[in-house]
């Protein structure tokens, strides 16, 4: 297993280089440039050309890429145009907020969706099932920015239970309870889409497993229904869920872009929006490579979880 892991992780390097080439070309293919963000409307043709020259953007694209790659391989992802600081430092300053939000959302989604999905499968075609399916449908259907604003209007403005935005109140950055209250609405918003997907998957996988012959055999042997459900059916139903967990990384990052913007949550999702708006090429590349790396690592973790759920899977 160790050898497999090392091989997989080494394999990420050429993959990341390939991803970086595609990203580099895509980012530079976008119209506009960083001069607008750097100088706003206070520019002229001459100053725009001067800025591009000072940033090295007057060089041919292959030269720009090789220069960037050379620095990146030495651990230097460049300087953010927007913030004038090393990209790694800028990302590091915002990563914690997104990890906190995504971890909370994933935990909430799993803890809420799996029991509901199990109940929904076991009580298929009852009102409980229909209610759970309705919740899932709503979760998938509501755009996260709309749901976020709705939650703010209801729980922050009308009921005054929780704050409307930000990570902490003024001067309360160290107050755990205050930070928790700030996290409630964005976590629910980000979790909603994932929760819906997990719920639907749990239900359909478990329904499918419950139809399998080994479940009938287990019941025929006189095992308790709870044991049949949890040890036999649910364990088999886990496989698609593990795949979904691996895939959820990219959905969580995608969702974070909107959720963080609505809730003024200072994570990498909002940073990405700002980087796109400012055409901050180094920061955009750094952020996209981080997401690519997270997806690759997510896939490796998925494979590991597969082996834990199904010992028949060998490491090759």
């Amino acid at each position: 297993m160790t050898g497999y892991l090392v091989r997989r992780l080494l394999g990420t390097i050429p993959m990341l280089v390939g991803v970086s080439v595609v990203l580099f070309l895509l980012i530079h293919a976008a119209p506009g440039g960083p001069e607008a963000a750097l100088l706003g409307g206070d520019i002229s043709k001459d100053t725009a050309a001067q800025i591009r020259r000072s940033l090295g953007l007057d060089q041919p694209l292959p030269v720009q890429y090789v220069t960037w790659l050379g620095s990146a391989l030495r651990g230097n992802l460049g300087i953010s145009y927007l913030q004038g600081e090393p990209v790694s430092r800028v990302i590091h300053a915002h990563l914690g907020a997104t990890v906190q939000l995504a971890a909370g959302a994933l935990t909430l989604a799993v803890l809420a969706a799996i029991p509901l999905g199990v109940v929904s499968a076991v009580r298929a075609n009852t009102w409980i099932d229909r209610a759970a399916t309705g919740v899932a449908l709503a979760g998938v259907s509501f755009p996260s920015f709309w749901l976020g604003i709705l939650l703010i209007l209801l729980f922050a403005s009308a009921l005054r239970w929780v704050p409307a935005s930000g990570m902490a109140g003024t001067g309360l950055e160290g107050d755990v309870a205050d930070r928790l209250r700030h996290a409630i609405l964005p976590t629910i918003t980000l979790a909603s889409t994932q929760m819906a997907a997990f719920l639907r998957f749990t239900r359909s996988s478990l329904l499918d497993a419950l139809q399998q012959p080994f479940v009938a055999v287990a019941r025929a042997k006189g095992l308790r229904e709870r044991r049949v459900l949890l040890r036999h059916a649910f364990r088999n139903a886990l496989m698609p869920l593990i795949t979904l967990l691996g895939l959820s990384v990219r959905f969580l990052v995608g969702g974070a872009v909107l959720t963080e913007t609505v809730f003024a949550w200072p994570g990498i999702g909002r940073l990405a929006v700002d980087a796109v708006t400012a055409r901050d090429y180094p920061l955009l590349l750094g952020l996209n490579l981080l997401v690519a790396l997270a997806v690759i690592v997510g896939n490796v973790v998925t494979d590991l979880l597969y082996s834990l759920a199904d010992p028949r899977i060998a490491w090759q």
């Binding site: 706003g40 043709k45 020259r53 913030q83 604003i149 704050p163």
Partner: protein, 550 residues
């Protein structure tokens, strides 16, 4: 089949929901800022807090409190002392000698001297420094030589230097020609002085200073959480006395709905850039003060003027009669704006209402198009020599008022047989195309300066085709008027020149003048001491006098 095991324990989901609700109930929300603190909601973060290299409006809002300038505007847009306690100009108008305050210290405790002013000015003129306001200092002696991007001159080689340090508290700034707006361009926030000791020998564009600045202003930056908040605290050794409010915090809340709700729920005390549809509600609520001011900002519908169809004066006048900006002001701006008649707003001493106007009159527009040789084509679109009067109207997709106005303009032009195709672009793309003159028609605005010169000369003078005159306007009479206004120190003569300039422009109809929007703010009723100036975001200059009513 019985499933007792599942019935016997509550679902985790239900438990989580219960926990969230209980948490919400048991944890009362914070009451926002304590009363020695003021929290302001901004729509986006600052880029750099360095008055020399940051040109975006959000950075300016913070810089007003961190950096002071040689001089500043008073309530009537007259010039009054700031870091310079007095000054005199030479009889020929080519030199200004400033006598600096002697009790000023930087926020790190070092004394402020004339060397700092010299360092700031040479940095402004250094082509390696990304100084967006450099063009405003085009009148400085040696400007062309010092700002040459390929071979910038050594100041020592200049026959006449732009800056002379007379002694630690006296500095002389030299001009190449009499420049009437000179004191105006020295004002904040563009004219914020930065310290020599903190920046000398460093790359100004990437220096750590830009996030941890040192100014001479009443507030210093204590913490900047990028994308989240900027915290300022009162500077105890400020030469003007410690400001009454101990702490000012700028919170970044991009979504306008959420920003508005943050004011209502106590998360912020002052709302910057409030949504127009919320203003009426706040105005009726006794808990809030709604304040507004007209600034030297105007929106317009413009075109490339050096090629058909808009090189024809009759077509331009037809456009002016065809577009009803009054209805845009009423419906889109909800009357938080007034119709514009030219580039100089009514708040300016140079403004004149006595200009040619083009009231909404579609029939007159059609008549003008007919005079220009246009006839209706088979598809109803006006055409001339087989070419339909069809063009693309570009704008910034990020601005709601632009999106709404574009649709109204398109509909109104269709009524006279003109086809405008709307193409909204994101800001970086739009700006690049703007300055490359890559457009037929545009819907955009200019944020001006309290002095009419910077944003008149650089937009309308024919020498500026590579600068802000991207519409490629050329009129020798306008050039002459702008030069006259720039080079005389006599205020009456300046005003006469600007009146002539406005009348010439109005006759020429180079734009359809849109409106002067009102800059609006909403803040808690108990907050006192804020004052509005007819200059962009100048309310932030008054944070130093803001105080909570006991």
């Amino acid at each position: 089949m019985r499933h007792w095991a599942l019935r016997s324990r509550p679902g985790f989901g239900a438990a989580i929901v219960t926990w969230v609700v209980l948490t919400a109930f048991t944890l009362a929300p914070g009451s926002g800022a304590p009363k020695d603190s003021l929290t302001i909601g901004l729509s986006s973060d600052a880029s750099f807090i360095n008055a020399l290299i940051a040109s975006d409006g959000q950075s300016y809002k913070v810089e007003w409190s961190v950096f002071d300038c040689l001089v500043q505007y008073d309530q009537n847009l007259g010039i009054k002392p700031m870091l310079a306690e007095s000054w005199e100009s030479s009889p020929d108008g080519l030199s200004y000698t400033f006598h600096l305050r002697k009790n000023v210290v930087w926020q790190d405790g070092r004394p402020f001297t004339a060397d700092d002013v010299a360092f700031w000015m040479y940095s402004m003129l250094n082509p390696k420094v990304r100084a967006p306001s450099r063009a405003f200092f085009g009148g400085m002696a040696g400007y062309d030589e010092l700002t040459n991007p390929d071979h910038p001159a050594d100041p020592a080689s200049l026959p006449r230097k732009p800056v002379e340090v007379v002694n630690p508290s006296t500095v002389r700034l030299n001009l190449a020609y009499p420049y009437a707006a000179f004191l105006g361009v020295l004002t904040c926030p563009r004219g914020g002085i930065v310290p020599k000791h903190a920046l000398e020998g460093k790359d100004m564009n990437t220096a750590e200073f830009n996030t941890k600045p040192v100014g001479t202003g009443p507030y210093r930056v204590v913490e900047w959480r990028k994308g989240e908040s900027i915290a300022l605290t009162a500077f105890d050794r400020y030469y003007g006395g410690r400001p009454p409010t101990r702490q000012v915090i700028f919170r970044i809340i991009p979504d306008p709905v959420v920003r508005t709700q943050a004011l209502r729920t106590g998360g912020i005390d002052m709302l910057d850039d409030p949504p127009a549809d919320e203003l009426d509600k706040f105005a009726k609520d006794p808990q809030y003060t709604v304040a507004g001011v007209y600034t030297p900002t105007y929106q317009y519908f413009g075109y490339r003027l050096d090629r058909p169809p808009f090189s024809d004066l009759r077509v331009r006048r037809a456009m002016a009669h065809a577009v009803d900006f009054d209805i845009i002001v009423r419906k889109v701006l909800r009357s938080y704006a007034v119709r514009a008649t030219g580039p100089i707003p009514p708040t300016s001493w140079a403004y004149t209402p006595k200009v040619t106007r083009y009231p909404y009159n579609p029939e007159k527009a059609k008549q003008l198009l007919a005079e220009a040789g246009y006839t209706p084509g088979p598809d109803g679109i006006m055409q001339k020599d087989g070419r339909p009067l069809r063009f693309t109207l570009k704008g910034d997709t990020g601005t709601q008022s632009v999106r709404d106005s574009a649709v109204v303009i398109q509909d109104q032009l269709a009524r006279i047989g003109v086809a405008a195709e709307i193409r909204l672009l994101d800001f970086p793309t739009f700006v690049r195309q703007l300055f490359a003159s890559d457009f037929e028609a545009i819907l955009v605005g200019w944020t001006g300066h309290p002095d009419p010169d910077p944003f008149s000369y650089t937009i309308w003078h024919s020498s500026q085709w590579n600068g802000r005159n991207f519409a490629h306007y050329k009129n020798p009479d306008v050039d002459k008027a702008l030069e006259d206004a720039r080079r005389t120190m006599d205020l009456k003569k300046r005003r006469d020149a600007y009146v002539r300039f406005q009348q010439l422009l109005a006759d020429d109809a180079p734009y359809v003048w849109g409106y002067y929007p009102k800059e609006m703010y909403v803040y808690r009723k108990e907050l006192r001491g804020l004052s509005l100036l007819p200059a962009q975001a100048a309310i932030f200059q008054s944070l130093r006098t803001a105080a909570w009513q006991p």
